[in-house]
Amino acid sequence: MDTSSYAWTTFKLFGGAAGVLVLASAIGALLKWRVAHGAPHAVIDNLNARVNAWWVMVAVIGLAFAFGKGGVIVLFYLISFYALREFVSLAYTRRGDHHAIAAAFYIGLPLQYFLVWIEWYGLYSIFIPVYAFLVLPILSAFGGDTKRFLERTAKVQWGLMVCVFCISHVPALLTLHIPGFEGRNLLLIAFLVIVVQGSDVLQYVWGKLFGRRKVAPELSPSKTWEGLVGGVASATALGAALWWATPFAPWQAALMALAICLMGFFGGLVMSAIKRDRGVKDWGTMIEGHGGMLDRLDSVVFAAPVFFHALRYWWVP
């Protein structure tokens, strides 16, 4: 593939995202003007805060793309860092876990991204599930505190799996060698992010417009069947419509998008359950209108490894 068509494809994807955001900003301003009459309005103000945060997020991703592989790895390294910080902050740990948590932050996290950087698939795919899994409880055991031991170690391991291992599968998409698609792997990341986040946004829109019946009232009061079905169907259609930017045929793009959307939805449910257990609504306060880093990423976390392995199984010889 020649680079100019790749650059043009990337430009079209970002142009499309910017176009959607211009529309969203216009609608937000219109709602603020006509419905809220400029007065404070919880739902509309939150919508506008979300749209503004989206502008920043798209700009940040665009900047990372401009720096290529290094930029993307640094970006997701930082995302993992903030996500892990949010996760550990809310988890119940004791003084005896200090070394395990320090190892997670200062050894597990950088090493995982280094392995992705040098494209050592054989190690980065098992480093956290095998080695970190075994070493962390050893470090916690040295703390000498047995109170709620299994629960505490499980939390640190979960934090690493969710925030580092799973998220690192987004930049790991760059390490796949798909015949006929060389040098264009950033588009796979764009496809994943657009479909997952598109699914979240469309579920939100469908839910706000038509939502009646709740899917899981005790987990997440804002998720409805109408939002789920409408959002996943339209995001699948969106994914299919993006087939020209991917190595997929349209029907393959639709199936991939469907798998991504469903995993993303389940990811949101699981992460909500963890939050409910701790009695909080959001993971943090980092992204205005959205909550924390993990609130925005819960669906990416569950979708990324599945997308990665589906691609690797069927498209990498």
Binding site: F81, Y82, L84, R85, E86, V88, S89, L90, Y92, T93, R95, H98, H99, I101, A102, F105, Y106, R278, G279, V280, G284, T285, M286
Partner: protein
């Protein structure tokens, strides 16, 4: 000896020291922000340019840094942490940070004879117009206890300085960032929660006031922290 030399040193050296103090303050606040993403939650009162005594829970040497970092910059200049001199005067670097960077009020914590009484020192500073950050538990809380009983100093200060706002503060999570006996801080999201000011009421005795102050601090804890009581 050292202080005498510093006083007689030419102006450029004093300027350089001030610049270094300023840069160090920025560096410390920046590092604290990066590690903890600290944010201020003004639950009961907004930040006000009025003379204030902030009293907070104490679990590590970084407590006042975090509290200080969440104050608006113009209030920082007026606000002095109260710090134990046995720790902060123990080395040149600590002395520089304690005295030049944070302008701390150094007190004796061990309570042994000799030297001025800490409560008198704090009263004097408040009468001179400073705002203070103090930790009424008296010592670092390294136990599993959520908050130690408060020392009586807070009560004596409230009686001596009725014109000062007494603002309860809860520093959340910091204890887990750097527990006692560890060297490497771990990154955790921390918050500094400021409550509504409390004042000594007519005829209120020491125990009642200290209980009320302690409860005001505990009430600032977030929901998910209270479950583990």
């Amino acid at each position: 000896m050292k202080d005498q030399l510093a006083n007689e040193a030419p102006a450029p050296r004093v300027l350089a020291q001030r610049a270094l103090a300023f840069a160090t303050a920025r560096l410390i606040v920046g590092a604290a922000r990066l590690l903890t993403g600290v944010r201020a939650v003004w639950a009961g009162s907004g930040p006000k340019a009025e003379q204030t005594l902030y009293f907070a829970n104490r679990s590590s040497h970084g407590d006042f840094v975090l509290l200080w970092a969440t104050l608006p910059p113009d209030l920082r200049a007026l606000t002095r942490p109260v710090a134990g001199q046995d720790y902060w005067l123990a080395s040149t670097a600590r002395r520089f940070i304690g005295e030049s960077v944070f302008n701390a009020l150094m007190i004796r914590r061990d309570g042994s004879g000799g030297g001025p009484n800490p409560v008198d020192q704090m009263t004097e500073a408040l009468h001179a117009g400073d705002s203070l950050i103090m930790f009424p538990e008296g010592t670092r809380n390294t136990t599993d206890e959520i908050l130690l009983p408060l020392k009586s100093g807070l009560y004596h200060l409230a009686r001596a300085c009725p014109q000062v706002r007494f603002v309860p503060v809860w520093i959340e999570n910091l204890k887990r960032v750097l527990p006692k006996g560890t060297l490497v801080p771990i990154p955790l999201a921390c918050a500094v929660r400021y409550g509504a000011p409390i004042a000594l009421q007519e005829g209120e005795d020491k125990t009642a006031f200290l209980d009320r102050a302690r409860q005001a601090m505990l009430d600032l804890r977030p929901e998910y922290d209270r479950q583990e009581d």
